[in-house]
C-alpha cells in the first residue's frame, strides 16, 4: 500500500484514534456495535441491575480484601469498639471488626458489599422470572437460559461463602447448619464434613477455604458465565415485546450510540447511587451485636440471608417425627447399622432440586409439549401463555411458602399466633399452594385474554352516555386504534395437539403422555380476535356504535 493512500487525521484525538484503529481494527467494532439496535423496556433492566451490582461487588470486595485476614487463629480483640475489648475471637472476626471501626469508610464498604450481594441475587432472580414469564428462553435462547440458571446458583454460592467469612455468631451457626446437612448425606456425608472443616466442626480451616472460594473460584466462574451470557445476547440479538411494527425478523429500538449507551451507562450510576444510599442509611449484618462464634449461644430469631431462606424454610417445615414414626431411618446392614437422615435430606435436597431441575428443563419441556421448534424473538405477554404463567406462579408459590417458613418464628411473634400453627399452615400451603396458584393464575390469564377480545370486538367504554329516542341509555363504545388492536390480536395461539402416530403408524407411550399434558395445558384457551369475527361483531351490533370516530382511529 502506498503512503499516499493512507488516511492522515487532522486532530490529535483523530491521530490517537487512528493509531489504535490501525492496530486493533476498532473501525470494524464501531461499525458492528456503534448503532446496533437494542429494544427498550423497563423489564429488561433487571439483568442490568444484576450486572451492575456485580461490578459493585468486585469494587467493594477488592477493597475489603486489602484489610480482611481470613485466619481462624485465636486473638484477643483490642480494637476501638469498647464493648468487645478483651474478648477472644478469631483473626477473621477481629479484622472484620477493624474494617468496621478502624478503617475510615470500611463499614460503608462492608455495607455496600453486603447490600450489593443481596441485590445481585434478587435482580438475578427477578430477571430469570422476567425471562420465564415472557417466554424469552425459547429457541434460540435455551442455552442462555441454562447459563442464567447456573449464574443464579453461583450467585447464591458467592453469597453463602461470603456470608460466613466474618466468623461471627450468626454466620457460625449458618456453618453449623451446613455441617448438619452435609453429615446427613448418605455414605459420603461424614467424610465431606471432615474434609470441608479440616476435621471436626468448627476446626481452624474452614474460613480460609471459604475465602479462597469466595474471592477466586466463584467470582471467576461468574465472570466467565457473564461473558458467555452477553456474547450470546449479542449473537441472538435481544428479544422484543410484541406490538405494531415489531416482527420475529426485526429488532426495533434505540441505537447503542448515543441513546442506549447513555441510558444503560447512566443506569449503572443510578444503581450505584441507590446502593450507596441504602448502605449509608440502613445497617446490615452488625457483627458487633452478634459477637464472635461460639458453639453454645445462639440468638432467637436467627435468619439466613434472603436467598438461602427457601432451603432453611424447607428444613423447618419437615417433620422429624410423626407420632412414633421417625424420619431418621436406622437400616441394618451386614456390617452394622447405618442411618438415613431423611428428616434433613428430603427438605434440603428435594424441593430446591425439583425447582432447579424443572427450571433448567423447562425450555425443552415446553418444546416437547407444544411441538414448537421455531425461533422466537417476539416475547409473549404473560396472559397469552396461560399454561406457562400458571406453571411459573406455581413455582413462585412453592418457593415463597418455603421462604416464608424461614421466618416462621418471626411470623409467630409478630402476629401473636402459635408457632406450631404457623408451621402446620405452611406445611399445608406447601402442598396445596402451588396447585391453587396454578388454577388461579390460569383463570386470571384467560379472563385477561377475554377482556382483550372484548376490547377489540366492542371497543372501549368512551364514558359518553347516549339516550335513544325511546329513552334508553347506552354507553358509547370507541373502537381501539389499529396499533392497539394489532397488539391485542397478534399472539401465538397454542392449541391442544392430540397424540399423533409416528412414521410406522404407532402412537408411542411418550407421545400419549405428551398429548395428556398438552390437553391439560391447552384445553382451555382463548383465541385472538380475527378480522372476520370483528366484521361479524360490527354487523351484529349495528355500525353506528363502533364507528363513532372511525376517522381518527383507523386511519394510519
Amino acid at each position: 500500500m502506498s503512503a499516499s493512500n493512507e488516511y492522515t487525521p487532522a486532530t490529535t484525538t483523530g491521530r490517537i484514534a487512528n493509531f489504535v484503529d490501525s492496530r486493533v481494527g476498532a473501525s470494524g467494532i464501531v461499525k458492528e456495535f456503534g448503532r446496533k439496535i437494542f429494544p427498550d423496556h423497563w423489564s429488561f433492566m433487571f439483568g442490568e441491575v444484576a450486572m451492575y451490582t456485580f461490578v459493585l461487588l468486585l469494587l467493594s470486595g477488592t477493597f475489603l480484601t486489602f484489610f480482611f485476614d481470613p485466619s481462624m487463629a485465636h486473638v484477643v480483640y483490642e480494637g476501638s469498639y469498647v464493648p468487645m475489648k478483651g474478648l477472644g475471637m478469631s483473626t477473621a472476626m477481629a479484622s472484620t471488626m477493624d474494617i468496621s471501626f478502624d478503617v475510615r469508610g470500611g463499614l460503608f464498604m462492608r455495607q455496600v458489599h453486603h447490600w450489593s450481594a443481596l441485590l445481585f441475587v434478587a435482580s438475578l432472580s427477578v430477571h430469570m422470572l422476567r425471562v420465564f414469564f415472557t417466554g424469552a428462553f425459547r429457541r434460540p435462547r435455551e442455552l442462555n437460559w441454562v447459563v442464567g440458571g447456573v449464574l443464579l446458583i453461583m450467585g447464591m454460592a458467592a453469597g453463602f461463602t461470603g456470608y460466613s467469612l466474618p466468623d461471627d455468631l450468626l454466620s457460625g451457626n449458618g456453618l453449623r447448619i451446613i455441617d448438619g446437612v452435609m453429615k446427613a448425606l448418605p455414605i459420603v456425608g461424614t467424610y465431606l464434613s471432615m474434609f470441608f472443616f479440616g476435621g471436626e466442626f468448627p476446626g481452624e480451616h474452614v474460613i480460609q477455604r471459604l475465602y479462597s472460594l469466595h474471592i477466586m473460584i466463584v467470582p471467576a466462574v461468574i465472570i466467565l458465565l457473564i461473558v458467555i451470557h452477553l456474547f450470546m445476547v449479542v449473537t441472538h440479538k435481544h428479544t422484543q415485546y410484541p406490538g405494531p411494527g415489531r416482527t420475529n425478523d426485526n429488532v426495533v429500538g434505540f441505537p447503542v450510540g448515543p441513546v442506549y449507551a447513555a441510558k444503560a451507562g447512566g443506569f449503572f450510576f443510578i444503581v450505584f447511587g441507590i446502593v450507596a444510599l441504602i448502605a449509608g442509611l440502613f445497617q446490615i449484618n452488625p457483627i458487633w451485636n452478634y459477637g464472635p462464634y461460639d458453639p453454645s449461644p445462639v440468638s432467637a430469631g436467627t435468619q439466613p440471608d434472603w436467598y438461602i431462606g427457601f432451603v432453611d424454610g424447607a428444613l423447618r417445615l419437615m417433620p422429624g417425627v410423626l407420632g412414633n414414626f421417625s424420619f431418621e431411618w436406622n437400616i441394618p446392614f451386614p456390617w452394622g447399622t447405618n442411618t438415613l437422615v431423611l428428616s434433613v435430606l428430603l427438605p434440603a435436597l428435594v424441593p430446591a432440586g425439583a425447582i432447579f431441575m424443572v427450571m433448567f428443563a423447562w425450555p425443552w419441556i415446553e418444546r416437547w409439549v407444544t411441538k414448537d421448534n421455531r425461533e422466537h424473538h417476539l416475547l409473549d405477554r404473560p396472559r397469552n401463555a396461560p399454561f406457562r404463567t400458571a406453571m411459573g406462579m406455581a413455582g413462585v408459590t412453592l418457593y415463597s411458602v418455603m421462604w416464608a417458613a424461614a421466618s416462621s418464628d418471626l411470623i409467630a411473634t409478630h402476629f401473636h399466633v402459635s408457632l406450631n400453627d404457623v408451621t402446620y399452615w405452611l406445611r399445608t400451603l406447601f402442598f396445596l399452594g402451588p396447585i391453587f396458584a396454578f388454577w388461579l393464575t390460569r383463570r386470571i390469564c384467560l379472563s385477561l385474554q377475554r377482556k382483550d377480545r372484548e376490547i377489540v370486538l366492542h371497543g372501549r367504554e368512551a364514558g359518553i352516555i347516549q339516550m335513544s329516542p325511546e329513552g334508553a341509555f347506552t354507553e358509547k363504545h370507541e373502537e381501539v386504534d389499529v396499533y392497539k388492536r394489532y397488539l391485542l390480536t397478534n399472539f401465538v395461539d397454542r392449541q391442544y395437539i392430540p397424540a399423533e402416530p409416528d412414521a410406522a403408524g404407532h402412537v408411542s407411550g411418550s407421545e400419549k403422555r405428551r398429548a395428556m399434558i398438552s390437553k391439560f395445558f391447552f384445553e382451555d384457551r382463548v383465541a385472538p380476535v380475527t378480522p372476520s369475527e370483528l366484521e361479524a361483531a360490527h354487523a351484529a351490533h349495528g355500525h353506528h356504535e363502533v364507528e363513532g370516530n372511525k376517522a381518527d382511529s383507523i386511519e394510519k
Binding site: I37, G105, L107, F108, P140, R176, D179, G180, V181, K183, A184, T190, M194, G198, G199, E200, E204, T235, P244, G245, D249, N250, G253, F254, A262, K263, F269, I270, G273, A276, L277, I278, G280, Y293, S296, P297, S299, A300, G301, T302, R316, L317, P319, N330, G336, N338, T339, V341, S343, V344, D409, T423, R453, Y483, N490, D493, D524, A527, T530, S532
Partner: protein, 349 residues
Amino acid sequence: MGDHSHGSPENSGTVAKADDVAQDRFPDPGLPPHRPRLADRDPRAAKRHERQVALLFTISIIGTLFFFVAYFVLGRLGEMSFAELRVQNAALGLGTGFAMLGIGVGIVHWAKTLMPDHELMEMRHEITSEADRQDAVEIVDTIIEESGIKRRPLIRNTLIGAIALAPIPAVFMFRDLDRTGKTAHQMIDQMRHTMWDTGIRLTRDPSGTPIKASDVQIGSAFHVVPEGINETENPLNEKAKAVVLLMRMDPAEMQISEGREDWNVDGIVAYSKICTHVGCPIALYEQHTHHLLCPCHQSTFDLTQECKVVFGPAGHALPQLPITVDADGYLVAQSDFHEPVGPAYWERG
C-alpha cells in the same frame, strides 16, 4: 375445565378452528407515528432540559465534595464513638449516593429529553447459515482425517485411557483437606465421644465455676461445659460437642425409662445442648411446659419425656448426660454420653 366453559366453537368465538389461524389475522400496521416531544418543538423547553441536566451533574459534584467532608471532618481516626461512626457512615452513603445519582439521573434525563427518540429498526440474521454449516462440517472432517485419529484406533484408545486416568491423582490430592491426620475409622470413633468422662465436674459457661447440686433450684437452667475445656487443644471443637443444658424439675413429673433411673440427681438432669436436627445450640427453655426449643428450626423437645421430639424437624431425642454428685457436693458426670451428640449421620447407627 370441561367443555362447558367455552361454549360451542361455532358461536362463542373463543375457539379458533385450526384452518383459520394462519390466514385470518389483522395486518401489521407498522410502527406508530412518532410523536415529537416538547423539546423537539420548543427550543425553550430544550434549553430548560439542558439546564436540568447540568443541575443534576452539579448535584453530583456537591455529593463528591460532601463525601470528603464526611471522610475527613466527621471521621476522626481511632477516637470515634459508635454514634459518630454511624453519622459518618450515613454521610458517606449520602455523599456517594448523590455523587452517583447526579451523574446517572443526569445522563438518563439527557438521553430521554434531548437525544433523538426515534426508534430504529434492523433485521435479524440467521444464527447459522446452511452454507456455513456445510463448510464447518467439511473443515471438521478434514481435521479428523488429517489427524488420523479414526484410522489409528491404537492411538485413540490409549489416549482415551491416559486422559481418563490423569485427573484421578488430582482428586486424591484433596485427601489431606482433613488436617487431623487420623484414619476415617478413628475420626468416626472420635465423633461418638465427647470430653465428658467419669468424675468431670459440670461448670458454668462461660465463667467456668463448678456447680453445686444445692445451687440448682427447680425451674432453673444452666448452660454447662466440662471443667477444663479451655485447657484443651481446641476448645471450640470440644465445646461444639460437649455443651450441656442443666435443669431441675420435680422428679414426680419425670418419666424415666429403664436404665436411666440414677442418671439424675433429685430431678437435676443434664442433656446435650446440640440439636439432633442440624446442630444448632438449643437455647430456649420454657419452664412452664418443660419444653426445650431450638431457635434455628424450632425443634421442640419435652424434658418430662427424656427430651423426646414433640415438634419440629429433629429426628431423635436429645442425648442425656448421666450425672451424680462428688464428695464435695459438686455435680459431676458419671460417664460420657451413651450415644453420639448432635445431628445424625450415616455411621451413627
